[in-house]
Symmetry: C2
Subunit: 110 residues, 2 copies
């Protein structure tokens, strides 16, 4: 199966998805969900944000199918729908590390 790459056609969708991930609180939510499903309340506590704000970001994540939602009893349980997002974060972290190293080298070395 060929890997799907960036094309003029999918530029917007790809950019949109990156933008979804470009909000610290949303990453924080995803990072928390990495440990398993969580209720909104649990995420509010974990992130230190407000309930409406967390709910809103969950809606966004849900709309783009980055998370799944399951209602049980009184609570809504959210979980990551595609674990590949964490691979993304790993790569970005690697990117940043290399960029910082370059910067350091440029500062020290010339």
């Amino acid at each position: 199966m060929p890997k799907t790459a960036l094309t003029p056609q999918n530029l917007d969708s790809v950019a949109t998805r990156f933008r979804i991930l470009g909000v610290p609180l949303r990453l924080q939510i995803l990072n928390e969900l990495a440990n398993g499903e969580r209720t909104v309340t649990a995420l509010v506590e974990a992130t230190g944000s407000t309930q409406p704000n967390v709910s809103k970001h969950l809606s966004t994540l849900l709309a783009h199918r980055l998370v799944k939602r399951e209602k049980r009893g009184n609570s809504a349980y959210y979980s990551v729908s595609d674990p590949a997002v964490f691979k993304l974060c790993e790569i970005v972290c690697g990117n940043i590390e290399r960029a910082l190293e370059e910067e350091r080298a440029a500062f020290s070395g010339g």
Copy 2:
């Protein structure tokens, strides 16, 4: 070597980097640079945007070390500094494909 993952400490940097990638024109520029170094003028033509706009986005990309810049003669040659970004785009494309497939399945099947 352990992969660097998302942590409470690096959340902001990671989010910032995602946001940098969340702009279609910037992705378009990177996509063009995937074929090798390009001058600003070449990127202006390839993207159909204006010169100041392309220059500004290149500045942003440069500031975050997503691209390198080399001045030769009258022109500035830009190139991708860390090819791992394309891996990111591939993964995101895969994400989107799966999300769309889910959506389709949800529509048809349940």
